[in-house]
């Protein structure tokens, strides 16, 4: 009888430790959210998104930014005004927002860079990405900052 209790206790302890270790391992190594495979939280024109930010940056930040950084995934539609590359060899497509003010800057990834190859200035497209920061006028930079989307992918609607 006593032996059985000891046996079961040991088994219980060992399995708990394994389970806890497993959960810890999963939490510590869980992958990043796959923005490309996630449905957008919002879908809108680039100008509408920029306008929302320029009219009330605090309100827009509250709506789109998330406290732990997994912020809203937005699909924006607009005309391409420039195509560039960042210091990590990722393609950056700039969509027209409000002329003379801010637009939407969309950074692609090593995997999605290839989608940018056939794009040209003036094309109207829809791009999905995670929002990192909004548009606003910065008095020190003396310019309007764009809405920034990263992990971008082109949506074919």
């Amino acid at each position: 009888m006593k032996k059985r209790i000891i046996k079961w206790s040991i088994l219980l302890i060992v399995s708990s430790v394994v389970l806890i270790a497993g959960i810890m391992y999963y939490l510590l190594n869980q992958p990043h959210r796959n923005v490309q495979a996630t449905a957008p939280d919002y879908q809108m024109d680039a100008s509408a998104l920029v306008n929302e930010y320029l009219s009330d940056v605090a309100l827009a930040n509250d709506k789109y930014l998330q406290i732990e950084g997994n912020s809203k995934i937005i699909a924006v539609t607009g005309s391409i005004i420039a195509i560039a590359e960042d210091l990590n060899q990722q393609k950056v497509v700039y969509l027209k927002g409000i002329l003379g003010k801010a637009g939407v800057s969309c950074t692609f990834t090593a995997e999605t860079n290839i989608q940018v190859e056939n794009l040209k200035i003036g094309d109207k497209i829809t791009i999905k990405g995670v929002i990192r920061s909004g548009a606003e006028y910065d008095k020190d930079l003396e310019l309007y900052e764009d809405v920034i989307l990263e992990k971008c992918v082109i949506l074919h609607l």
Binding site: Q30, R33, G69, D86, L87, S105, D140, L141, E145, E150
Partner: protein
């Protein structure tokens, strides 16, 4: 006739006003700067990269401004990234951007028209996590053709910016002082 003179006069006046109020071309813009931060402890090395740094360099006045979208830092591990963004650490929802505004103090030692590698002394104010502190650092400025590259390598003490963790894993796994390196490339016009 009078009308024509008046029109010319007004047009001229407006043109002059526009010429003096439009931003000078000496102000260069870079929208894809890179910042890395690196924390080393015996338990863990943590590194994060951000490629969305917006900055301006005024070659005439020596003014440099950086604006950093704080949620743009990418970590290897998703959990680290969540911790970094959370209200216990950088609170990036409340403070979505950090900023540095400074001045090159040895502008006479630099020549933006001549290729070369220069050391610039930069003094200014940094705002991070809602805290503004004065900061003086050296920057390496490389001029090659129409490209100007500014690189810095500095150390930031997190407690200076009210980023504290006294207990638990973060207090042992995150360095009190972290290395921050930046790189921005500007293109001269004309």
């Amino acid at each position: 006739m009078k009308k024509i003179i008046l029109t010319i006069g007004i047009t001229g006046f407006l043109a002059l006003t526009a010429a003096f109020t439009t931003p000078t071309v000496s102000k260069l813009i870079s929208k894809t700067g890179h910042i890395n931060f690196y924390s080393h402890t015996t338990f863990e090395d943590i590194s994060a990269d951000n490629y969305k740094v917006v900055s301006t360099l005024d070659t005439a006045t020596g003014e440099i401004v950086y604006s950093v979208p704080m949620q743009g830092f990418e970590f290897k591990k998703a959990l680290m990234q969540r911790h970094y963004n959370s209200s216990k650490f950088l609170d990036t929802k409340k403070f979505p951007k950090s900023k540095f505004k400074g001045q090159i103090t040895n502008l006479t030692d630099l020549n933006f028209e001549s290729d070369g590698i220069y050391t610039a002394e930069v003094t200014g104010e940094m705002t991070l996590h809602g805290v503004t502190k004065s900061l003086s650092e050296t920057a390496t400025i490389t001029i090659a053709g129409n490209k100007i590259t500014i690189e810095t390598n500095m150390q930031l003490t997190l407690a200076d910016y009210n980023i504290n963790f006294k207990t638990g894993k973060p207090s042992t796994n995150i360095a009190k002082t972290i290395d921050v390196t930046t790189k921005s490339v500007y293109t001269k016009e004309g």
